[in-house]
Amino acid sequence: MPILVPDINLRIIAPALIVTVTAIVVLLGELVTPAERKRWLGYLSIAGLVVAAFAAFSLWGANASGFSGMVVADNFGLFLTLTIALSAALSILLSIPFIHAHEIDQGEYYVLLLASVAGMIVMATATDLIVIFLGLELLSLPLYILAAFQREDTRSLEAGIKYFLLGAFSSAFFLYGIALVFGATGTTNLAKIAASLAQSAGSPMLSIGVGLLMVGFAFKVALVPFHWWTPDVYDGAPTTVTAFMSVAVKAAAFGAFFRTFQFALPALALDWRAVAAVLAVLTMTLGNVAALLQSNVKRMLAYSSIAHAGYILIALVAMSANGLSSALFYLLAYTVTNLGAFGAVIALSDGARERLEIKDFAGAAREHPLVALALTICLLSLAGFPPFAGFVGKFLIFGAAVETGWAWLAVIGVLNSLVSVYFYLRPVVQMYMSEPAEGWSGIRVAPLVALALLIAVISVIALGVFPAPAIALAAGGLIR
């Protein structure tokens, strides 16, 4: 009996490896960095992310699989890897001044963030349920800590403990789902699951397993009715952490969600597509309607992120090549748009005193016209207003749904985006159509925040006006 040589191919996990190594270097660097130079750890982290992004670029089109089919470097995973790296880099740009102002500028912040990024990349490129689970945990555990990173603030701690308890709870469901799918099909490899299901009929055990998997993903991307943690955690967590997890977690988790359901479980599509369609309707509707009355921007954006998860789920229901590429494009568009919105909110804060109530934005347009313009553009893009990134994203997703015979779902999506305009415009109205509130004088926008905001807003406009290259990249991301 020959000895099996483990199938190790470090090249295809290079992006995740680079991020991990960067995290370790930053962790060690923290020991020797004096307090006033902590920002260099942030720059180092960004450098690591840039290198990881280059590694991902160099793998473009490789379509290589390794570790006995557990991890793959296909364009789908690489597109998500790039999106995640971009969101992490922009978040760190926002974080460097932010954590300094809030006196939580410890190197561990960046280490945890990078560790979470590594988990996300693993999750987005995994082709085995167990590896997806590992990625899921690796991305979640650091985020639990990051949510509670403002240790002196009871709200931050509350966010951490709620996120942790509910997250661990949902992980248990997810894991049990894997166990049941393993029992029903004899494998956890996505391709083998698909092959096995193509030959045999489903069983009740498999149905339960698939349901539990869906619950696990639904929790991570915040689908109704598994979204309950989202508003509270997003509200309590440090704003930069909220910004990061609202976009990056979605990219990673949706990546694994699509891979699992569209490629491993097409045999059961008749069943789960209907469930997913209902979840999409619930998610869009609840997210948008509940956001209408929010007075706090972070909570409003939390509900908005729930709604956006609903839109993206439509692409999964469509279960087509266009659906997949539209979801990728949407995730990228949502990433830059939402980070731009959070960036503007951070830019308007006064040192450690944040302006999070919508009424606090009164008159911002007069004091900070460019920041107000940036926030307006991002909010309009979130609302799906042309000609910004969000509009093209929605158009692609609704188009994919219509193409595959789910026009009614697209109609509900359009109706929802119509409702969403009202709450997205509330901060805009405050900024432009109110007399300035107290305390605007002397606020300067940190250069790094301005840089992040500039990158985000240019991307929002570019993805809306010239989306063709990004669409081509997303369409190249198809897996077999």
Binding site: P204, V210, P225, D271, V275, L286, A410, V414, V429, S434
Partner: protein, 648 residues
């Protein structure tokens, strides 16, 4: 020249972008040069494009693809412009009238502290409107459609410190979004049906794929028309337009009279292939148009605010245009769109000039006797009033007459009668406004001491105010004069066949096809005679009541009801109505305005908002903050998901 077509929208966009970022650091004259100059240059390019189309004759349809916008699989959407006689004429209107209104604004807004912001929005609006007009597919049209709505919202709420302006902006945005939803659904349905959104593809495939009256085409066209109803302020979604008068007057002239509100008419004309295949939808368009025309005209009779009279008049005239395109007289509808752009923009600008002189007062009960104070404003308003009344050989006469003639000829006798009646009412209310503003005895006192400062946010002065009215600066009167010339002569491009050659009909042939057989000369003269007679009667009655013998209505009123004599010396105009229309007529008009307009339709919009808010509140109630409650709800959700998957 076609290669430079992109410059037409690009110039105003550049103007908007530069002003948006730098206007705070630039001197005012530079802001003006950028704002006005960009639209002016855009107009020159548009003019050149217009002559290109004119020169190409029957081949005058150009599709200019700028770049590939959203390519997905075998389906792609380009940023592409369609230049044909229809869009070329619209281009001229948007940039030309837009340019004049920009010039006017440099005078009108001179004192405003947000001068740069105003020109930014105004340029952005012109850009958006040009995208709407030029787009060669429904998606690009939707982009323009949404953007003009946004600009309209920004400009209505321009003086946001006044709660009424902020509320009006919000109302406009919400109401038109309801229509936009219909439009969006229509676009989706077009995509589903034809697999393309390009005008060329859709219009080529539609007649091949579907019979006349196919249900799917009817549905599409009704959905599209829903968008037009919202955007063009037709029944029942017109309520936002009168409130939109809270915006600066140049905005009312540009957006809420000459351009944006006509987008619905343009869209129907652009989609004429689809509407021709859907007789039911066309019928709906015509009926809603005619009913709106009459309805809004009756409301205009009761209004005392000069700008509100003009707003209801705009709704009414838009109704005419829809009547035109509804009876398949697409060329006539667009013709009236054009002449209306001239004379209604002129009316608004003249009203703005009055506000400028009277320190923001716009209530006709406090005006009167201004003709000697503001010569240019007076003359130009008079020309526009004659044009809208359909006075022979003025522009409105030709365009209105063509719509009515086509309605009559296509067998819509009742709609024709409604249109004719409306024409009479129109002549009456516009001359009522004219006489009350410029003639009659002044209901204000001359204040010799000081020159009134020019303010335009409507101020309500109680009692008998004193002013020193003055003619507006040249930057305002010159655009008035140019528009007045256009309002007088523009009609000659579309003369009825009995009077001369109809240039417009031939010009539009590449878009709408060859014109139908000419109407018999006898019928034609009869129709012309009827419209002229009705218009003259309206003017004459107004003259008789307000100028010739103001005591007649008083005597009449005294005979009918003694109580009027007690009231008449306060605001004799009000009592005069009661005498003429007697109680039932007045009540009906007031009922239409106060009950239907203010309560039913507004109430519905507000009720919808309240319902959503309470729904939202209920959902928030579920978000209790208890981690264990969340865990329980998640578990319930899990059980439901698993149960469903297992039972299927």
């Amino acid at each position: 020249m076609i290669n430079y077509l992109w410059l037409v929208p690009a110039l105003p966009l550049a103007g908007a972008a530069i002003n948006a970022i730098f206007s705070r650091k630039m001197p005012r004259w530079l802001v003006s040069v950028l704002g006005v100059g960009s639209v002016g240059l855009s107009f020159l390019v548009a003019l050149a494009e217009f002559f290109t189309v004119l020169g190409a004759g029957a081949q005058g349809v150009f599709n200019v693809s700028i770049y590939s916008w959203i390519p997905v699989g075998n389906f792609k959407i380009d940023v592409a412009f369609l230049l044909d006689p229809l869009s070329a004429l619209m281009l001229l209107g948007v940039t030309g009238v837009g340019f004049l209104i920009h010039v006017y604004s440099t005078g009108y807004m001179a004192e405003d502290e947000s001068y740069g912001r105003f020109f930014t929005y105004l340029n952005l609006f012109v850009f958006s409107m040009l995208i709407l007009v030029l787009g060669s597919n429904y998606l690009l049209m939707y982009v323009g459609w949404a953007l003009v709505g946004l600009c309209s919202y920004l400009l209505i709420s321009f003086w946001f410190t006044r709660p009424a302006a902020a509320a009006a902006g919000k109302k406009a945005f919400i109401t038109t979004r309801i229509g936009d939803f219909g439009f969006g659904l229509g676009v989706i349905l077009i995509f589903v049906t034809f697999g393309s959104l390009n005008f060329a593809d859709v219009f080529a495939r539609a007649p091949q794929m579907f019979q006349l009256g196919a249900p799917i085409i009817t549905t599409i066209t009704l959905l599209l028309f829903a968008g037009a109803v919202g955007k063009s302020a037709q029944l029942p979604l017109y309520v936002w337009l009168p409130d939109a008068m809270e915006g600066p007057t140049p905005v009312s002239a540009l957006i809420h009279a000459a351009t944006m509100v006509t987008a619905g008419v343009y869209m129907v004309a652009r989609s004429h292939v689809l509407f021709s295949l859907a007789p039911f939808s066309s019928e709906v368009v015509a009926v809603i148009g005619a009913v709106t025309a009459l309805f809004a005209a009756t409301i205009a009779l009761t209004q005392m605010d000069l700008k509100r009279v003009l707003a209801y008049s705009t709704i009414s005239q838009l109704g005419y245009m829809f009547l035109g395109v509804g009876v398949a007289a697409y060329g006539a509808g667009i013709f009236h769109l054009m002449t209306h752009a001239f004379f209604k923009a002129l009316l608004f600008l003249a009203a703005g000039s009055v506000m400028h002189a009277m320190n923001g007062v716009i209530d006709m009960r406090q005006l009167g006797g201004l003709r000697s104070k503001m010569r240019w404003t007076y003359i130009t308003f008079f020309a526009a009033a004659l044009a809208i009344s359909g006075f022979p050989l003025f522009s409105g006469f030709f365009s209105k007459d063509e719509i009515l003639a086509q309605a009559f000829e296509s067998g819509h006798i009742i709609l024709w009668a409604i249109g004719l009646l409306t024409a009479g009412l129109t002549a009456f209310y516009i001359f009522r406004a004219f006489f009350l503003t410029f003639h009659t005895q002044a209901r204000w006192t001359e204040d010799e001491g000081r020159k009134t400062e020019s303010r335009h946010s409507p101020s309500s002065v109680v009692g008998h105010p004193s002013f020193h009215p003055h003619e507006s600066p040249a930057s305002m009167t010159v655009p008035l004069a140019i528009l007045a010339v256009l309002a007088v002569v523009a009609g000659f491009v579309g003369m009825p066949s009995v009077m001369g050659p109809n240039f417009l009909e031939g010009f539009f042939a590449p878009v709408f096809g060859e014109a139908a057989a000419a109407i018999p000369a006898g019928t034609e003269w009869m129709l012309i005679g009827a419209s002229v007679a009705v218009g003259l009667i309206g003017i004459g009655v107004a003259y008789w009541f307000y100028i010739a013998s103001p005591e007649i209505p008083v005597n009449l009123a005294a005979q009918f009801k003694g109580i009027y004599t007690l009231l008449w010396n306060k605001y004799y105009v009000d009592e005069f109505y009661s005498a003429v229309f007697v109680e039932p007529g007045r009540r009906l008009a007031m009922f239409l305005w106060q009950v239907i307009d203010v309560q039913v339709i507004d109430g519905f919009a507000n009720g919808l908002g309240r319902a959503m808010a309470s729904f939202s509140g209920a959902l928030r109630g579920w978000q209790t903050g208890y981690a264990r409650a969340y865990a329980l709800l998640m578990l319930v959700g899990t059980v439901i998901v698993i149960g469903w998957l297992m039972l299927r």
